[in-house]
């Protein structure tokens, strides 16, 4: 906690030119293979370009962006990205919180449980998606068999139905990342001072109250971080919806029912060879991420300020 503050005053060690040499490998590689491509994407987004005319680009100004924002496929992908993002992130983080709470008990065999929770994270998304396609097969898949034969519910069309297909794609994301987030929450929970629990127990707080008034506030920075990171991941969702389509084309289903912005960008660039439009989509995604992250941080800060005011008022009143 104090590390950041302390380093500023302590960092008086000589560095000189050698320091630049040490950060140089990072920045040289990063500049060549990350920063340069990002900037070039911005440049390309202002041109009419295809793979064969990459070196003879035609300037179109903001034309690609205008095309994009008047394109119904863009808005469809935009909406899908948001809905799939919500269906995959919200249950994922809530479940992770609950699981972390369970893992925080004084367990027998806790290493076993922790490793088991992390198994999906070790499974690649390519493999996980292949597996879930089989489980979600409308006719004869394990999930529909379970729903239909055991629970006597109607079978679900996990490919054709818009919401069902989005739930299916989100399930893959949720399966892979819930355990990972649970461990991150668990690490956060273990830094909460146990004296707080003891004090609240003396005050007669129930377990739910302890969770609500001790655990959750203590975890707030960790929760904020997982929300930010999940938002970044959800905005660029690509592999799961690409592979979930039986044709392995970036359509996001026969009616584009689960086409995300990441897929749309890939389709514009690699299927239709509109590199300018694809680049414009990529930069739009970046702007969306920045806005989403800033919104999250802003909301968190406002809440914090409001609570500090309340606490202050309560102290004054007392």
């Amino acid at each position: 906690m104090t590390a950041v503050v302390e380093t500023r005053s302590r960092r008086r060690l000589p560095g000189g030119r050698a320091a630049y040499a040490y950060v140089a490998p990072f920045f040289v590689v990063f500049a060549a293979f990350s920063v340069y491509p990002w900037l070039d994407t911005a440049w390309v987004s202002l041109h009419d370009v295809s793979l064969s005319t990459y070196n003879h680009q035609t300037w179109v100004g903001l034309g690609n962006y205008r095309n994009l924002f008047t394109n119904s496929f863009f808005w469809n992908a935009f909406r899908n990205t948001i809905t799939i993002g919500i269906i995959s992130t919200v249950p994922q983080l809530c479940l992770a919180l609950g699981i972390a709470h369970l893992l925080n008990y004084r367990l027998r065999g806790k290493t076993f449980f922790r490793v088991a929770m992390l198994m999906p994270y070790a499974t690649s998304l390519a493999a996980a998606t292949v597996i879930f396609i089989e489980l979600f097969t409308p006719d004869g898949g394990l999930i529909n068999w379970f729903l239909h034969s055991l629970l006597h519910l109607p079978a679900v069309d996990w490919q054709g139905n818009k919401w069902a297909s989005q739930v299916a794609v989100s399930t893959i994301v949720t399966w892979r990342w819930t355990g990972y987030n649970a461990l991150i929450y668990l690490a956060g929970m273990q830094t909460i001072d146990t004296a707080l629990y003891e004090a609240s127990a003396l005050d007669g707080a129930s377990r739910w109250h302890q969770f609500r008034y001790v655990t959750l506030p203590g975890l707030r920075p960790t929760i904020l971080f997982t929300i930010v990171v999940s938002t970044i991941g959800a905005t660029q969702l690509f592999g799961e919806p690409l592979l979930f389509d039986p044709t392995h084309q970036p359509n996001g289903g026969s009616e584009h029912q689960y086409q995300t912005l990441g897929l749309l960008m890939y389709q514009q660039g690699w299927t239709y060879d509109h590199l300018g439009l694809a680049s414009a989509t990529a930069w739009t995604m970046f702007v969306i991420i920045v806005l989403a992250v800033l919104t999250n941080l802003g909301l968190a800060r406002r809440r914090e300020r409001r609570e500090r005011r309340w606490r202050h008022a309560a102290e004054v009143a007392a």
Partner: protein, 304 residues
């Protein structure tokens, strides 16, 4: 460069992520005062474990039946004897072995590069004074927000121009360093190595690289191990850039899965057998190192 890497930003420590030796475990706050579990706790955890493992288990079931058996009214729930037949068919269909070899090469190169360069960079940011360090570090952290999509078109053109498209260096070079890695090592080294120690070495006339080799690297070893594990896993599972840069003649394992479903009538059992073949090596490593990987994820997450 992958979404997984940016996910790991959650694992950014604000305090040194001291990978806890076993003796620390029981003394860690929160463990000794933790609640006593009841049978409900174990029941719920058992359910979650089941959900984590069932898809992998059912893959084994599907991979060991013929397609015909899988189509039965009641899907089989236990493994059967056709695993090796399906596996042979899968290996004929997709270059899985080459995919595995390529993935080992790529992941090893990326891991070695990332750990070496990021430790070096992290050391400079944590312990050395130089003009613009604050700005450079802020830039480094900010780039974790950039989606993979933003670079792939120019990157592909660049690789084509360099004659690397379709070859392994095209997937190794771009991920040879990560912003996450630099920040991770910087956070760790800031308080893992006392300034006095480094000052004393400088007074004794050691150069900064000497200091790096004989003081910083030994102290950084636990964090380097964590970074190495996370980087290897992320690179192994990376999908987006490899599928663009490589092709089915020279794939990584993730790319080679694509060849399983092609052909006139894709056979589920064969697809599952191939998938299993590609996943098992990671899961075996994971089972052996699982405890350490769990520790790595958690220690990296301290004060996210």
């Amino acid at each position: 460069v992958t979404s997984t890497v940016s996910r790991q930003a959650a694992a950014v420590p604000a305090e040194p992520a001291v990978p806890a030796p076993p003796r620390n475990r029981s003394a860690r706050r929160g463990t000794h005062g933790a609640l006593k579990p009841t049978w409900v706790t174990y029941l719920l955890l058992g359910l979650v474990t089941l959900v984590s493992v069932i898809p992998l288990y059912y893959t084994t079931v599907m991979a060991s039946h013929t397609n015909h058996e899988m189509a039965a009214k009641v899907p089989p729930l236990l493994p059967n004897g056709s695993l090796f037949t399906n596996l042979r068919a899968a290996l004929k269909l997709a270059p899985l072995n080459q995919g595995l070899i390529n993935s080992v090469i790529v992941s090893s190169c990326v891991t070695i590069g990332t750990v070496a360069f990021c430790t070096l960079g992290g050391f400079a940011f944590a312990k050395l004074r130089f003009r613009g360090s604050g700005l450079l570090l802020a830039f480094c952290v900010g780039t974790m927000m950039v989606p993979t999509q933003m670079g792939i078109i120019p990157l592909y053109m660049l690789m084509a121009r360099l004659g690397l498209a379709g070859h392994l260096p095209s997937v190794i070079l771009p991920t040879l360093v990560t912003a996450f890695g630099v920040f991770f090592m910087r956070q760790y080294l800031t308080s893992a190595v006392p300034d006095e120690l480094i000052e004393a070495a400088f007074v004794d006339g050691a150069g900064s690289f000497r200091v790096f080799l004989s003081i910083v690297v030994p102290a950084a070893r636990p964090a380097m191990a964590v970074l190495a594990m996370l980087t290897f896993l992320t690179t192994w599972n990376d999908f987006f850039w490899p599928i663009i840069a490589l092709n089915s003649q020279n794939p990584t394992i993730q790319v080679s899965f694509q060849s399983l479903a092609t052909g006139y009538a894709p056979q589920q059992s064969v697809i599952m057998a191939g998938t299993l073949y590609g996943v098992v090596p990671v899961l075996v490593v994971f089972a052996v190192l699982g405890k350490h990987i769990v520790g790595g994820v958690m220690q990296g997450a301290l004060k996210g």
